[in-house]
Symmetry: C2
């Protein structure tokens, strides 16, 4: 097989080194043993097409690989597949000021795209922790979300055009940057979030927007979870919100325990809301203060603080951002789930009830993007439990949690995709018939099942 690959790629662009197979054969998921047969680094779309032709003939699986920051095993090669790394297709090809778009190769690091947009006086708003290493191709293939979804939406909203190579070997040009185009099924949207199972992205045209105005951060102490949504309504009325996050009091305590931070608010409270609003004009701060006063008067919150400087903005964000780090030693069971925002309070209660019924000794740390209905559930291992018993218990608990997601008509993967990790979860929120249809759709674009085989469906 390697001989045939060398017909398509320069020697520099193929590797079978153990180190490379290990490194390129997996993403951030650490449950799967990487076992690809080779890694290739195409330089252009034609090479990708030629590779697909070869793969069809020889029944080889192809696994796309970007910045390898995925959390669901969507970019793991565990069964002798060929890893197709887009590392060498990393050119920013065209900036169009009139259209406010950047056309890029899939291997462009998200942060580089963001930087280039900024240098042009514009803004690419989809942002998350792994922006410094994730690739835009992977962002699109997984429809990445992140910390500003409330304001700007997911990656899907920013894809103006795509070039893809399908499992049929076709090179398709989808939508080509048009704002308005109603000429049949929008295949662009089918490819966004398809995790490389229909085809590989070889070029993308991304929309940009204006640079954001300065923002201020507000931290609020909230006694009742269900009031968070009411607070959202009040603040949303007069202000543009960039983020609306929540976390539980024990999350706050965990952060305090690993940092030298003091409590930002004296009054203790079961929940905290962290929001960021744009200072769109001189009166925005006054409007924020009025919203604060209104919530206080209605008993929705008991205390709070509005940052008065960029430095204090950053400081307040730290209480939210350092939660993950603060609980790592407790080997948390994590889940990335979503329900409709209106369902968050009762969904959260239901999960707490089911957890305490089966495992009263388990502690739950909550945080998440409540404005999007996206919750990060973290269940901590009791200090006196070993990791393996904890994992077994969590696997048991998991079924009950997924049952609840199903009852609440939520999502088993809000922003991390399905990959290998969550394939078994799919039937909790998509019907058997719908999953059949997904399989049939894949068949249309990838009849030989060579594109990221075994992932998603």
């Amino acid at each position: 097989m390697n001989r045939r690959l060398t017909g398509l790629f320069d020697t520099d662009d193929i590797s079978v080194e153990d180190q490379d197979l290990l490194e390129y054969g997996q993403d951030w998921t650490r449950f799967y043993k990487p076992d690809p047969s080779a890694v290739v680094f195409p330089r252009n779309a034609q090479q990708v097409r030629d590779l697909v032709e070869l793969a069809r003939k020889d029944h080889l699986g192809l696994v796309p690989s970007g910045g390898r920051t995925g959390m669901s095993g969507g970019a793991c090669a565990i069964d002798k597949e060929i890893v197709v790394s887009f590392q060498k297709m990393n050119a920013i090809m065209e900036f169009d000021r009139d259209d406010a778009t950047l056309t890029v190769e899939p291997g462009v690091v998200t942060a580089n795209l963001q930087q280039r947009a900024w240098d042009e006086g514009l803004f690419y708003p989809v942002d998350f922790g792994s922006s410094g290493s994730s690739y835009i191709g992977g962002n699109i293939a997984t429809n990445a979300g992140g910390i500003k979804v409330l304001r700007y939406g997911m990656t899907r909203n920013w894809v103006a055009g795509l070039k893809v190579v399908t499992g049929n070997g076709d090179l398709l040009e989808l939508n080509g940057g048009l704002v308005k185009n109603n000429t049949g099924y929008d295949l662009r949207h089918l490819f966004v979030g398809s995790e490389g199972t229909l085809g590989f992205i070889v070029e993308a045209t991304m929309k940009l927007t204006g640079q954001p105005l300065p923002a201020s951060v507000v931290l609020l102490a909230v006694p009742n979870m269900s009031d968070c949504l009411k607070i959202l309504q009040v603040f949303r009325k007069g202000l543009t919100l960039n983020a609306f996050e929540f976390f539980s009091d024990n999350a706050m305590e965990k952060v305090l325990s690993v940092s030298e931070f003091s409590r930002p608010i004296d009054t203790e409270s079961p929940y905290y809301v962290l929001l960021e609003f744009e200072r769109s004009d001189k009166t925005a701060l006054e409007r924020a203060e009025a919203s604060f006063a209104k919530c206080l008067k209605q008993g929705l919150l008991v205390d709070g603080i509005i940052a008065s400087s960029e430095q204090q903005n950053k400081q307040l964000w730290q209480y939210r951002e350092r939660i993950t780090e603060s609980i790592t030693s407790r080997t948390p069971y994590k889940n990335d789930i979503a329900v409709r925002p209106s369902q968050v309070p009762s969904f959260l209660r239901a999960i707490e009830q089911v957890t305490s019924r089966y495992f009263p000794e388990f502690e739950i740390v909550w945080f998440g993007h409540i404005g999007d209905g996206n919750l990060h559930l973290n269940i901590l291992r009791p200090e006196d439990w070993d990791v393996s018993s904890f994992k077994t218990a969590c696997d048991e608990l998991n079924h009950h949690i997924l049952d609840l997601v199903s009852t609440f008509k939520g999502s088993v993967s809000a922003e991390h995709g399905i990959g290998l990790l969550k394939k078994a979860y799919l039937p909790y929120t998509r019907s058997e018939r719908e999953i059949d249809l997904l399989r049939n759709l894949k068949q249309v674009f990838d009849p030989d099942s060579i594109m990221n085989p075994g992932k998603l469906i």
Copy 2:
């Protein structure tokens, strides 16, 4: 067949009256002779499923029918199909304040949805001339656009969840109002704009947003078409633009000739730009005036007017809105095309060149949503030509125009869909291979080709 239909529907919900067959068998397109075999009015999703089962068994075509305001023959029954009117599925089912969504049946008139949102203190922003009669189901099936796309995007952006009955008879619940959901291919987006060829919408959850702030309208006299985009850049910088329209001087003259309006701007100019900006705060007007001054100084415009009252806003809009009416007597050849906004000036020049090369006596009236790249091309019949020779000439010219759309990688249908009318145009902007794939996709959801047969592909 009618006996079998009566097994599924009450007598009141079936009609074979000539008058009904004629009325429900067509949309606003007037090129096709309606010839359905019956019209049915389902009351719920189950009746739609039963009907699909019957249609599969008996090989009957089903044509969905909403407000019948389509412009491409997407809702015409010309071959003994059964028309499925959603007129009686017109309930607004649920308003969710926390999610800011309205869940509705497909037969809800767009204006009723808009009104209900407004009554709840919110806003449904997709708006167009036919809002008073079009149905939301049809809006979604055709991904309707309209006059505020620059600000709010097309219908697609506002669909939070769909229930559809496919040609397989499956009832699918797609996305269910979730903001974040990355669990496989997003079928919701596949159904939006599919013109009833994959399945029929039986319920939709639509997102709402905050009510808009008061706006002001600006009319500008612009000597050079290519400067319109520069003007857009300048005004966009400090202001939120609801609309950015343009029209040519002869469009202005035609409006003046049918109205008692006087010229709104003394200075004559080949092009006019009409823009609307939100008065987001007290300084918005000053920012608009500064943008105006900047454009004037740069020579991008030669004159202009900023409306100083709501009444004047409406008056200025009239110069744009009455264009269609003012040219009707000239039986214009119309086209709804789009290119990337940056391509508008050269595309427009190219069309003018090709038209004057073949038919120098033809007059072109331009108007459109330039901010979206969507142009409405209107070629007027010379007064001394009869309609039939003009039509023949336009059919000839049409090929050259579509060739240009193809060269510019534009869209042959920006906002009106394909239906019956533009099927032959599809190959100008979508490759043969892509059209094959569209057919294969249809096959997955509608293996017996009973759902709106003959439309789109």
